[in-house]
């Protein structure tokens, strides 16, 4: 398979699956302002997914569209990070995931801006501003929850701990990113990511998780059991009416 196609799909799938989870918060958030904010964030993620999947389809050159890629691929063909597909959990988990994921996306898009691939650089140029807001939003909440009440501190710590073992996968290098000169090798982002995330966690009075074990497999299409259900829901109407236009 074409390296550029696979690489673009990885980034697009991350954004698509993240958007699907973020959208689950709409009409279920702790306060109305948060329904609006998470709606914004989900829309940003979905917009990034659409640009990237459209581009992946174009690179592939097989006549597929963004919707073919989103709705008519099976679990094993999705290349997103497992971090993105895990169920939402409570609001502390949600903000832990957003802090981890958006900080990673921000570093990634900052570098991708300089890519020789004009489309990827263009997507990154728009997305980097969006994810800067996501990082800011997550940071504000991690501080409030970490340094709020005893209960919120406990829950924030639990969220940070539960998702930490899914962060290592973000920085895994492989021959594809090493070969593909328009790609960003994520291994180079890890140190700065740890620095940024640690600063927020320290200020929140929580403890940075130390678990050394890290899950992996998403980039090879090996997922948690949760992705299948997420996709069943996402895809079922489109698959029930193959060939239909919406």
């Amino acid at each position: 398979m074409n390296d550029l196609f696979t690489y673009t799909l990885r980034l697009g799938d991350d954004a698509l699956i993240a958007a699907q989870r973020t959208a689950e918060w709409i009409a279920a958030a702790p306060q109305l302002e948060e329904d609006v904010a998470l709606g914004n964030i989900g829309l940003d993620q979905l917009g990034q997914a659409r640009s990237l999947l459209q581009y992946a389809a174009e690179v592939e050159g097989a006549g597929r569209t963004e919707d073919d890629l989103a709705y008519f691929r099976d679990e094993r063909d999705f290349l997103n990070l497992q971090l993105c597909e895990l169920p939402n959990g409570d609001f502390g988990h949600a903000m832990a995931r957003l802090l981890y994921f958006a900080t990673y996306q921000h570093l990634l898009y900052e570098q991708l801006l300089g890519s020789a691939d004009e489309i990827l650089a263009g997507v990154a140029g728009k997305a980097v501003k969006e994810v800067a807001y996501h990082v800011d939003h997550a940071t504000q909440w991690v501080l409030r929850l970490g340094d709020g009440t005893d209960e919120s501190h406990r829950r924030m710590q639990a969220g940070l701990d539960a998702l930490w073992p899914y962060t290592g996968e973000m920085f895994a290098s492989d021959p594809l990113v090493q070969r593909l000169d328009v790609a960003v090798d994520p291994a180079g982002l890890e140190q700065e990511w740890v620095r940024r995330v640690t600063r927020v966690i320290d200020e929140s009075t929580c403890e940075r998780p130390t678990s050394a074990y890290q899950h992996s497999g998403g980039r090879d299409g090996k997922h948690t059991e949760h992705l299948g259900y997420l996709l069943a829901e996402l895809q079922h109407v489109a698959r029930s009416h193959p060939g239909a236009t919406w």
Binding site: A28, L46, G47, F91, E233
Partner: protein, 308 residues
């Protein structure tokens, strides 16, 4: 109070600092709060389809729409707060069932076509109800409605477009669209409230310039606007008595079953319990988050004080 009546008589605007009769204030609080509650409960039947929207473009449009509704809720609660109440107290009244929201949201969204039908019919009916509110005598409510109506008319076009695509699609898609119209037509007519003869709040609200047209006038306006659009879609309005009257220039139509409306208002609609339970759960699940935010803000304020 003479100045209040003079302002009303001159078709002017009452502002939060102006003197107003207690009944006027209470009526507005009730109406604006119910309107705000309707926006946030209305997020549920449509939010029900975000995860399953059949294309990424439709998913994005629907997410933006449901998000707009949260925004409408926010500025309507803010408008109510200008009358001396708190959003938190109004939410408590919603959660305890003491204040209502629009009955239409107690019907289920069963297929993707329902998202089109809600946009076209429910937002269409809401616009007919709300456009006159842009001239409501209470300034903050009137101004909030200007913005709400702009976004609602955008939503209505999107709903129509969903159905238009379905009606030009496969047989199954077209059947889905017709089924949605069959189910949403009557509840949409009920959105204008009971017939004029049975409407309890109308007369005083008209005198105060809160309401500008009667329920039956607005219902007629909605039917006249909607039937030609159904023709464009190639869908059949489920009313055997629907006729265009050349002389009056209006459609004659069958009145909806108001007994059903009263039952839904009383809490016996298909989704009353589900909608309220979902709202209460979101609120209760979020209590620790709101408490944490308040505690954190207090700590920050204390620290700033100490620093100063």
């Amino acid at each position: 109070m003479d100045s209040f009546q003079a302002t009303i008589d001159a078709d002017g605007r009452i502002e939060p600092r102006d003197a107003m009769p207690e009944g006027y204030r209470k009526t507005l609080i009730r109406q604006i709060a119910q309107h705000a509650h309707s926006e946030i409960i209305g997020m549920q039947p449509e939010g029900n389809w975000i995860s399953r929207a059949p294309s990424l473009r439709r998913k994005a449009i629907l997410m933006a729409k449901v998000q707009d509704e949260a925004g409408h809720g926010l500025y309507l609660y803010a408008a109510a707060e200008t009358l001396g109440v708190d959003r938190a107290d109004l939410l408590d009244l919603l959660h305890s069932g003491k204040q209502k929201y629009s009955s239409i949201f107690n019907y289920p969204t069963l297929t993707w076509a329902d998202i089109g039908a809600i946009g076209w019919l429910v937002d269409g009916a809401a616009i007919v109800n709300q456009v006159p509110l842009c001239r409501c005598s209470y300034g903050p409510y009137a101004r909030a409605m200007v913005r709400v109506c702009k976004e609602e008319s955008f939503h209505q076009r999107q709903g129509f477009e969903i159905l238009h695509t379905l009606c030009n699609g496969t047989d199954a898609q077209k059947a889905m669209a017709q089924d949605a119209l069959d189910r949403w037509w009557w509840p949409s007519l009920m959105m204008f409230g009971p017939p004029d003869a049975a409407s309890t709040h109308s007369e005083q609200s008209m005198a105060w310039g809160i309401k500008r047209h009667s329920n039956d006038e607005l219902r007629q306006r909605f039917v006249d606007m909607t039937v030609p659009q159904a023709d464009v879609l190639g869908l059949r309005v489920p009313d055997d008595n629907l006729r265009y009257d050349e002389e009056t220039g209006h459609y004659s139509f069958t009145e909806p079953d108001y007994e059903e409306l009263y039952q839904v208002v009383k809490g016996n609609g298909p989704c009353n319990k589900q909608r309220l339970a979902h709202r209460v759960k979101a609120h209760e699940d979020g209590a620790w988050v709101r408490e944490a935010a308040a505690a954190y803000a207090e700590k920050q304020a204390r620290e700033q004080e100490t620093a100063a």
